[in-house]
């Protein structure tokens, strides 16, 4: 796969960057090699010819920098604790599954269950995501996971969400067009979702309320949308100027009485 077809602008080689060719290799072998390199003190890695290898970045508990060329497989950065990963294109399902800390930046779209059970760190998706993104994200004390989606999301966004911040910008969605997302925040009982643009309120999760933004909300958006914009070389101001709504859980125990007799 050459650079021209990927539409990738590559910066001058970084000092100490190690290139790992993943062509035709099994993920176990690749992850084993990455772990060995990181243990030797390598701080910057470039994975080329990636095609569906799973669990990349999972077992590297250090703040290494990883650039991925190609499409990584499912569970990219699952249980990740520390690395900063950018994917120069699309990613698949389960990115940042139960991720603890670090950054994932996808220069394209990603699939379903992004940030599944995420506990900390940040995920930035430049474009769109699939179903059940942020399902059961959680937070505790200083561990506050953040997902920013630049485009739009499919159904069950923030399903059973228990904590953290989920932001949807609708960047290339005309303001008069509704997000396709249905059942947003179904079962939500913690955390907050900010969504810019039109939402079909008939299909909001039953456990979710909708509010205009407070100054505190604006400050949260300013911070995270700023990071999103920096990750992809975009302007933050036009994104922040979009009309946002805040979705919040109406109760912290939505099923508290469901099974009580």
């Amino acid at each position: 796969m050459d650079k021209a077809t990927l539409g990738v602008a590559v910066p001058p080689t970084l000092a100490g960057e190690v290139v790992v060719d993943c062509l035709g290799r099994h993920y176990r072998e690749v992850n084993h090699e990455l772990r060995g390199l990181v243990e030797q003190g390598v701080e910057s890695l470039r994975l080329i010819n990636v095609a569906g290898q799973r669990y990349l970045g999972t077992n590297l508990q250090r703040p290494v920098r990883i650039t991925i060329e190609g499409v990584p497989g499912n569970d990219l950065g699952a249980f990740m604790d520390g690395p900063r990963i950018q994917v120069l294109g699309d990613a698949q399902d389960g990115c940042g599954n139960t991720m603890n800390s670090g950054v994932l930046a996808i220069h394209g779209s990603a699939g379903d269950i992004i940030g599944h059970s995420m506990r900390g760190g940040s995920i930035y998706i430049r474009d769109n995501v699939g179903y059940r993104v942020g399902i059961h994200m959680k937070e505790y004390g200083a561990a506050q996971p953040v997902i920013v989606i630049g485009g739009t999301a499919q159904h069950f966004l923030g399903e059973y969400m228990a904590g953290g911040v989920l932001i949807v910008l609708g960047r290339r969605l005309p303001l008069d067009r509704e997000h396709p997302s249905r059942y947003i925040g179904a079962g939500m009982h913690g955390g907050v979702i900010y969504i810019a643009g039109k939402v079909n309120e008939a299909f909001l999760g039953k456990e979710v309320g909708m509010l205009p933004l407070s100054d505190a909300d604006r400050a949260v958006l300013q911070k995270h949308v700023g990071e999103y914009a920096r990750a992809f070389g975009l302007e933050a101001e036009p994104l922040l100027a979009r009309p946002f709504a805040k979705l919040y859980p109406k109760t912290v125990r939505p099923y508290g009485r469901l099974y009580a007799y």
Partner: protein, 386 residues
């Protein structure tokens, strides 16, 4: 004891399932060899466990394009001769031969594989079309003997399948040597039913082929409905019923793929309530008519027939489906990475909503939906911690 159970010595206990699907159609009709689909399936090896793999290809037998290509699996030479004697009563066999194959390490228990190029003869009951008659005959053969059955019965198409990894089955059948304008492949991870030769995907009837990832929890209901319409399930796995259901609703009843999607993966009642009145009436009518054919549970399928490929997932997307378009080519796959791998210049990619049929048709250049925008270039950045 059935063939499937007797030969199930693979120790396939119940496990998480995640079969791999891949298919493409060149809508210009240009022919492609089997390399791309083999390569795509190998890249998704993780999705299977070596207990089944298979391929379907369309446009493959131009020399016998007008004849039914009956592909048979037989447990013994005696069973094959019995099948052939039976076939000679109802068919004119123009040509027959063993399906070419080579021995491959690790491929076990291969049955005798034979193909017959034939046309049906004899009286048909009034109102029965030639296709109906072929269905009746295939069903009769497959329920009569436990030792021989027909697993592919279309014109100018073939299914090659067995127990093994995608590369093993491809090599066994020399799949890369065939040419077609439409290819479908499957990598199996059997969960609730045995891994055996007949249970590998694709499943076929007439020129239908179906590959499937997931499990049909409504199988019992679907199967009883199909039996009432003369279709007998004999392959011990849920996918088979989808192939027969496709034949019933799309060939016999003439439903378009989009209407068939409303049968198999109807919108939720909650969603139907919010549709415009005309669409509501349509959705309600289809659910009333075809309720027992709603496929419940997690699934993604590729349903193909001569000139057409349909990708469809369940209505709440419990199994993945990625789509890509490059010029005349439409790709569907369990994983996006496989599409990029075989078509690095892919122009448009997206994941359709659950229940939405992705249709590729010979002679119709594929179009990305309006909401799928051209890809923006990736501009690499230094990432800081947010």
């Amino acid at each position: 004891m059935s063939w499937a159970n007797q030969e199930n010595r693979y120790g396939d206990d119940k496990v998480f399932d995640a079969c791999g699907l891949f298919g493409f159609i060149d809508t210009s009709g240009a022919m492609h060899d089997g390399q791309a689909v083999i390569k795509a399936l190998i890249s998704m090896k993780e999705r299977g466990n070596g207990l089944g793999s298979g391929y379907a290809v369309y446009g493959v037998y131009p020399d016998f394009a007008e004849l039914y290509a009956l592909h048979a699996m037989c447990r013994s030479e005696a069973a094959r001769q019995g099948l052939e004697a039976h076939l000679r009563q109802g068919w004119t066999i123009v040509h027959d031969e063993p399906i070419p194959h080579r021995e491959v390490a690790g491929v076990l228990d291969a049955p005798i594989l034979w193909r017959y190029f034939a046309s049906p003869i004899g009286e048909r009951a009034p109102g029965l079309s030639e296709e109906d008659d072929v269905v009746r005959q295939v069903m009769a053969i497959n329920t009569e003997s436990n030792d021989a059955f027909i697993y592919s019965s279309g014109k100018n198409m073939a299914i090659f399948k067995g127990v093994g990894h995608p590369e093993q089955i491809a090599e066994y059948y020399r799949v890369h040597e065939y040419y077609g304008y439409l290819w479908v492949g499957h990598n199996r991870f059997p969960t609730n039913t045995p891994g055996w030769w007949g249970g590998a995907h694709p499943f076929g009837l007439l020129d239908w082929s179906v590959v499937h990832n997931g499990e049909i929890s409504s199988y019992g209901t679907n199967r009883r409905y199909m039996e009432a319409h003369g279709y007998q399930c004999t392959m011990q796995t849920d996918t088979e019923v989808i192939a027969y259901a496709a034949d019933l609703v799309m060939r016999k009843h003439g439903l378009s793929p989009r209407l068939a999607a409303l049968v198999f993966a109807s919108p939720l009642w909650d969603e139907i309530q919010h549709l415009p009145p005309e669409e509501q009436r349509l959705c309600r009518a289809i659910r009333q008519t075809y309720g027992p054919l709603l496929l419940n549970g997690p699934f993604t399928v590729i349903i193909a027939r001569q000139g057409e490929m349909v990708g469809l997932g369940d209505r709440i997307r419990l199994r993945p489906l990625a789509v890509g378009i490059k010029d005349d080519l439409l790709y569907v796959s369990s994983e996006l990475s496989a599409i990029h791998l075989v078509q690095p210049g892919i122009e448009y990619t997206w994941t359709p909503e659950g229940g939405q049929a992705i249709v590729g048709r010979l002679g119709q250049r594929p179009q990305a939906p309006e909401h799928v925008l051209p890809r923006e270039p990736a501009i690499e950045r230094e990432l800081s911690y947010g």
